[in-house]
Amino acid sequence: MKVEEILEKKKGEKLFLLGNEAAVRGALEAGVSFASTYPGTPSSEIGNVLAKIAKKAGVYFEFSVNEKVALEVSAAAAASGLRSFVFMKHVGLNVAADAFMSTAYTGVRAGMIILSADDPSMHSSQNEQDNRLMAQLAGVPVLEPSSPQEVKDFMKYGIEISEQFEIPILMRTTTRISHMRAVVQLDDIKIEKKKGFFKKEEKRFNIAPSFARKLRQSLVEKHRKIEKLANTSPVNCIINQRDGKIGVITSGAAYNYVTDTVNDYSLKVNILKLGLSYPFPGALVKKFIDHNEKIMVIEEVEPFIEKEVLALLGQEGLIKTVYGKLDGTLPRIYEYHPDIILEALLKVLNLSLPKERELRFDIIPPLRPPVLCPGCPHRSTIYAIKKAVRSLKIKDENIIYSNDIGCYTLAMQPPYHMADYCICMGSSIGIASGMAKATKQKIVSLIGDSTFFHAGIPPLINAVHQRAGIMVVILDNRITAMTGGQPNPSIAIDGWGEETPAVSIEELAKATGAGYVAVINPGNLKKAIETFKEGLQHQGVSVIISRSPCIMLKSKEKRPVFQINQEKCTCCQVCLKQFNCPAIFKKEDGSIYINQLLCTGCGICVQVCPQKAIEVKR
């Protein structure tokens, strides 16, 4: 499929869409004319698609500097009468939380969808927070689609509710929905407005305490109304089986596992699927509960619906067993799987199946963790830092590597082990500041260009102002790489592919007052090592910008190919065990060779080899 088809296909046609691609089509069908994001897995493909088609569709789109700004620009658009769509990974909503909480109070004029792509099981994240709880904290309604078709349809439905009640809507997807591909039936696209007009309404968009008190009241009133809607909403539906005595309340990806299991095994189970799970549709759930002898709640990550069900039973004075996470029927952590659901359903139904033997044998597969690409400039940077540290005779235990979120987080792996502390976007510098004050150890902070813009600037200002002695290395590969290569302010291109002013990292660093600022090309290892030595010896804050474009951005044409001269090679394995390029291998006979298919021709290994045994093949 070509990405353009998401825009070009007509009503009635079908596409095999990823949940994230369906979100884009849904936004176009819902008349969204303003979109913003900061990329993050599992939400990134939404932005990648919009970057390619938004301009043609007449939709404004930007890769904002971080999620908070992304939410603010979309909130401004919705306040100005443009339907807007902001999307991010689940932890992005933490960054945006301040703006999120207040936007719930001000509300919106045109519809606004905030999509949070949660990551149960933490496939590519640091935690598995359930953002339905964030929505509850803010008082924002929650939609939980179960398929790409629903992602698309709920975008439209969400915009309608948002506009009707003048409140933003949180669409909660999970990895298995964002990255699920399925057949999607399309509807008409309509983009209505290109420019809005902001009509002043001070008591609403300025949440000074006196105004906020009124807004708080109005938010609660909106809730009562939306709860009524949730009780009759078409996205909240009961699927009854004949003779069903057990009622399962479910949502999101879990609904799919329940449905397939119930169908495959012809289980007598009634299902209540909640697509609009918050505000909690109490009356509908009460009706469902009355109809069933036992209740089971099957949802992913937190017992969000389950606790609401228990509260409802208490309020109604009903006594009924509720099976779910809280009583241990279902696992408390990680994503579900059809196998887990089958086991739990059989347990509650008091059924058992003949055990099929599992295939198992005693051979262990090799470890295959993700790794920095061959030719990745980050490898040269971290290799050079290690060399500088060694030549200054700093012991490993006396140097702390405060790492950050990006491809360079992979420096955590052997042989480098350069991620002693890494918690969230921008944290490398804040943590480094604290370590510098709390210990006498040397501190190195590793942060990427995009992450520096996102959340690295305030802590750098803090480090300078608090006189923290740290070396900050900004690994500037001119792109937001880990999420698939989105532009960021370090380059003169915006989300639409248009020219725009770039923002200079070195000028920003100098403006903070850091005493030592240098820019290096990590491709020159000797110079890089010298510069890192100077940075490490500097007394205050040193900032070293290690600049070289991501290897994925470089043209594949005319790359040289390198090989190892077996006569010169002494098998010292420096290239393998210290530099660790994945294109370099050891054969069974112990000789070292370069896999020509993987080699990207960066040639850094030539500088690494002490025997000068690596040479250009052509």
Binding site: M1, F16, R176, R181, A182, F361, P365, K577
Partner: protein, 205 residues
């Protein structure tokens, strides 16, 4: 239980081998043929040279995730990767695996070992009832480029009588999903895989 209303394909490989691409080709072809299809992909951190898994269900299913022992077909683009998903293989599962091994950096570093090849393949032959090992890399080179290894394996899968998607639909889908100048070598790779299977395998039915 493995209901016959649905054909379940488990694809496993190493980042860069085209595991997701192969599944997408199958999925779009199934849709074009009028079948229902759902698929699960891996993105992000898992991609950088790590294990990549995609699961495809064709027919009556709303979830793409394959249950224990329930795969109808397994396509392994790297043989040792099979060791990670043995519990999806049931007594009727057809397994097609490349013979070509890819050694991860952890082995070069000495922090992990690649299994003894002879022992590994022997175990596969002993324990997996319907196993087809293929020199996919050699055939891919014959087709024009080693990058088509995944398509050689897809070609072999097409030769299985239960495979629900027709060859013509797959070829059409390849056209839409690979760079235009590589269509011919990909179609050639598909054909080589298909013929290899037909000529050397007594098809299970």
């Amino acid at each position: 239980m493995n209901s016959k209303k649905c054909y379940k394909i488990y694809l496993i490989g190493v980042g860069g081998q085209g595991t997701v691409k192969t599944a997408t080709i199958i999925g779009e072809a199934a849709m074009a043929q009028g079948l229902n299809v759902v698929m699960s992909e891996v993105h992000g951190m898992a991609q950088r040279g790590g294990t990549v898994v995609t699961e495809v269900k064709i027919g009556e299913a709303v979830s793409p995730l394959i249950e224990k022992n329930a795969a109808d077909l397994v396509l392994a683009f790297e043989p040792s990767e099979l060791l990670r998903m043995l519990n999806r293989i049931g007594k009727d599962t057809m397994v097609i695996a490349s013979r070509f091994i890819i050694i991860p950096f952890t082995v070069s570093l000495g922090i992990s070992e690649y299994p003894d090849k002879v022992e590994m393949f022997d175990k596969f032959k002993q324990k997996i009832r319907y196993l087809y090992l293929i020199d996919a890399e050699k055939l891919a080179k014959k087709a024009g480029h080693v990058i088509t290894t995944n398509i050689v394996i897809l070609g072999a899968a097409l030769a299985i009588s239960q495979f629900p998607v027709r060859k013509e639909a797959i070829i059409e889908s390849i056209r839409k999903n690979v760079p235009p100048h590589t269509v011919d070598i990909n179609v050639e790779a598909l054909d080589l895989g298909y013929k290899q299977f037909i000529s050397t395998h007594t098809v299970k039915n």
